[in-house]
């Protein structure tokens, strides 16, 4: 359930009656809390959440689907987001689940998870010969390093798997960049666009992506429509007029062979505005679905920062 200033969104309800029940409860709670606000300390912080990797370590990592999730990683993400209880894993010893007390651990730090993932990726990079990869990746090779253009800027990957850039390396970029190198440049983009959920492995990530990216970016565009124009200047985006009959569309290249099409439909005649990110149908040939999601979530964070510094 997400409470916005003028909207309450409930992600999953069985039917209208259940929605009404939840809304009536929320209405009572919000009104009661508002009445008692003098005795309540307002909070702008988040409750503690477990980390994805901590949860994953507890799971069998066999992707047995016994919990209903397609992989242990997807299940771990769902648990970390509070969408699934840990004991839904049928292979987890109940005592382990209870003693794990993951919910009581310190606040989550997604960036810690991402940085922790870098170690194994770097080890895999060390085993690669980088030079032959330059062409397939759409990159350049010089002095033992790959130069990969991301959003108009060159990022460098060396033999040790270290990532450098002339600007600050956003933590969200490094793991997808290494995974892009490891994937080896599997396919040329075809110019056929689909939402993330329609990529071969995207079904289970689609809902997360809509929540973490599409929805937040729509809100950003509603408030800062000029942001698209700023992207053209900042991130070497290209206008992509008439894409899906959208009002504004731009094409960006977070990786040379991983383009993203951002489309915004302005509100019109009582219709709400809309925003969607589309991927080339070949996206998963060039980057694993988890990294595509991570990249999208990271770009959303960067968009939000850009809107604060360049937006109106």
């Amino acid at each position: 359930m997400t409470l916005h200033p003028r909207e309450i969104a409930i992600n999953i309800v069985k039917d209208e009656a259940e929605a009404e029940e939840i809304l009536a409860w929320l209405k009572r709670e919000v009104n009661d809390i508002w009445e008692r606000r003098g005795e309540i300390q307002p909070s702008f912080a988040c409750a503690a959440r477990p980390r994805v990797l901590e949860i994953l370590k507890l799971l069998p990592r066999t992707n047995c689907r016994g919990c209903g999730a397609p992989t242990c990683m997807v299940f771990a993400v769902a648990v970390s987001q509070g969408k699934q209880p840990l004991d839904r894993c049928p292979h987890l010893d109940p005592e382990v689940a209870a003693s794990a007390s993951v919910a009581s651990k310190e606040a989550p730090n997604m960036m810690d998870d991402i940085m922790a993932a870098l170690g194994p990726l770097r080890e895999k990079i060390k085993a690669l010969e980088l030079e032959p990869l330059a062409g397939p990746l759409g990159a350049r090779y010089k002095d033992g390093k790959l130069f990969i253009n991301c959003l108009g800027r060159d990022f460098t990957v060396d033999r040790e798997g270290q990532v450098y850039s002339g600007c600050h390396v956003n933590g969200w970029v490094a793991p997808p960049l290494l995974n892009y190198v490891l994937k080896g440049g599997g396919a040329e983009p075809k110019g056929e666009w689909v939402p993330l959920r329609d990529l071969p492995g995207g079904k289970d990530w689609g809902r997360f992506f809509e929540h973490q990216c599409d929805k937040r970016l729509k809100k950003l565009m509603d408030d800062h429509t000029e942001l698209m124009t700023n992207l053209v200047d900042l991130w070497a985006a290209r206008p992509a007029p008439e894409s899906f009959d959208s009002d504004i569309a731009v094409l960006i290249h977070p990786m040379p062979k991983l383009p993203m099409l951002l489309c915004y439909w302005k509100p019109e005649d009582g219709m709400e505005s809309d925003f969607h990110v589309f991927f080339d149908v070949t996206a998963e040939d060039n980057l694993p679905i988890e990294s595509i999601y991570t990249l999208g979530a990271g770009l959303t964070v960067m968009f939000e920062k850009v809107s604060h510094t360049h937006g109106g």
Partner: protein, 77 residues
Amino acid sequence: MLVKAYTKSFVRPPNPSARHLRCFAALEADISAALPYVNTVLKGYEYLTDPPLADLKAAGQAGDAPSPGDRHQYRQG
């Protein structure tokens, strides 16, 4: 009373096999000022300040609301 009325709308998730709905309730009143207090009491799972946004989770999950009876009631629906 801050929240007096709302208008509900429903959408079907894009996943073709999904059987649940998503509900959006448009509020007549702006509840921005109440959100930090709601976040405290209902133990928000995620809170953003600009624009204000409080993300809550259902029972048995992170960000439990504090009234088990009420939650049980709506989760049994």
